[in-house]
């Protein structure tokens, strides 16, 4: 039996694996899973030795499959994560998140004087100029910035 399963096997839900070590709680935050009242039972396993990257985090969410845009947001924090949909105790689907080349309408710009932070009807748009750790450049004001969970929408 796989030793990870000993910690928390689930019947239905989602396992996010290969999360960049240390990012698990941020992933929970952008999925809204740290909110009160709780909606799903969540197991967080941090700093698991991994073959690919020396350590990784894993998040297991019971009875919840991810919504459409959520994987894109996870990619901003953890470009190598895999998303496993578990049905009847088995991995039914597996998706690799992909670090995007552009980030559209997912994060706000850190420059308070950027046109995207005004009342104008315009979505935010960033070019990904570095993948890990991710650095974004605002297409409008040109400001280069880190991904910051407070600014994820």
């Amino acid at each position: 039996m796989r030793k990870e399963l000993k910690i928390s096997a689930i019947r239905n839900g989602t396992v996010i694996d290969h999360i960049t070590s240390g990012m698990a709680l941020k992933v929970l935050h952008i999925l809204g899973l740290d909110e009160d009242p709780p909606t799903s039972t969540v197991s967080v396993i941090m700093h698991v030795p991994s073959r690919l990257h020396s350590f990784k985090d894993i998040v297991k969410i019971e009875d919840r499959e991810l919504k459409k845009r959520e994987p894109n947001r996870i990619a901003l924090l953890s470009p190598h994560a895999t998303i496993n949909i578990i049905r009847d105790g088995e991995v039914a689907e597996k998706h690799h998140v992909r670090p995007p080349r552009e980030v559209v309408d997912l994060a706000s710009c850190e420059n308070p004087n950027c046109i995207t932070n005004s009342r104008e009807p315009v979505s935010t748009r960033f070019k990904v100029i570095r993948k890990e750790p991710m650095v974004l450049k605002c297409v409008y004001c040109g400001r280069e910035q880190d991904v910051c969970i407070e600014r994820l929408e």
Binding site: C114, I115, R119, E120, P121, V122, V139, Y140, C141, G142
Partner: protein, 313 residues
């Protein structure tokens, strides 16, 4: 090279060849810019000036430029008198103005405003400054001035002096000069030196540059002294400002040892950065530089409006 219908938001939207071409066209505009020739390159075309922030120099030189090539000008420079005061968005105003004009010149207090306006507009948008962001026509007229004074820019020594940290236009000028292969010198107090991301961009592009804290280090070798304004607001107290401003003030004495052909530039308006006694020396070029805004803007307006430039040659 096709410029017709294009927006001019950032100097980085242009290749080196395109910049040189714009400057060539600007050279051909000089007689008309001085009023010695009359051009009618774009009969019936209308420029809409949308100035959400005051800027006398930029506004007047765009207006002159449009009229010198035979066009007409409408617009506003007082936001209180427009529907923006009633809460209209820039996006909506752009959609309205594009129905009245053939080209828009926009000055706005927010960074990225011109990029957004260009997305909403079907007619070309020329960025005349967006907050602390880009000001491509200033960069072009700076390059034009240097190129026309020095002939070419490759391997020429160009010193940028003053506030190199906050001025985005200085950063754009820096990148453009790097493209031209100039040797750059950055002279500023430590607190106002180039930000690290600009330095790393220059390194990536293999630009040739040196950093100094003292003007006299390079006075003997530079071909251009480009002086920028040091803003009081950047300093915690007035004493600190006075100390720094004093150390970077250019007067005839600080020019000792300079090459005879060295030119001094400044985007204007100046406050105390250059002493008036420098105006009379043969180094001063800042008033010429201000005039050069006219032929450069004539060139840009003609190009984006698709004028037939055959008559210039």
């Amino acid at each position: 090279m096709d410029f017709q219908g294009r927006d001019v938001v950032s100097i980085n939207d242009f290749t080196l060849e395109e910049i040189n071409y714009i400057l060539d066209v600007a050279e051909g505009m000089v007689p008309a810019a001085k009023g010695e020739e009359v051009l009618d390159l774009i009969p019936g075309k209308i420029l809409a000036m949308m100035f959400y922030e005051p800027s006398t120099r930029t506004m007047l030189s765009f207006e002159t430029a449009m009229k010198r090539i035979g066009g007409k000008v409408i617009g506003f420079s007082d936001v209180r008198a427009t529907s923006t005061a009633k809460g209209e968005t820039l996006a909506d105003t752009i959609k309205m103005v594009e129905a009245y004009a053939d080209v828009i010149v926009l000055r706005h207090d927010r960074e990225g405003a011109a990029r957004m306006a260009a997305e909403f507009s079907d007619i070309p948008v020329l960025n005349a400054g967006d907050g602390a962001g880009q000001h491509p026509t200033q960069t072009l007229l700076d390059l034009y001035t240097m190129r026309s004074e020095l002939g070419y820019l490759r391997k020429k020594s160009i010193a940028l002096v003053g506030d190199l940290k906050y001025g985005r236009t200085v950063h754009s000028l820096t990148y453009a000069l790097a493209k031209f292969g100039a040797n750059l010198h950055f002279i500023a107090p430590e607190a106002l030196q180039l930000p690290p991301e600009v330095v790393s961009h220059l390194e990536k592009r293999n630009a040739s540059f040196e950093v100094h804290e003292d003007l006299s280090d390079v006075m003997g070798e530079v071909d251009v002294l480009y002086v920028t304004r040091i803003q009081k607001e950047r300093f915690p107290d007035i004493e600190e400002y006075n100390k720094v401003a004093g150390a970077f003030r250019i007067d005839t004495e600080s020019l000792t040892g300079a090459k005879k052909s060295m030119i001094i530039m400044h985007p204007l308006p100046r406050v105390d950065e250059i002493s008036p006694d420098v105006d009379g020396t043969n180094h001063a070029r800042y008033f010429q530089q201000a005039f050069n805004g006219v032929p450069v803007r004539m060139a840009l307006l003609s190009l984006v409006l698709g004028a037939d430039l055959g008559v210039l040659r």
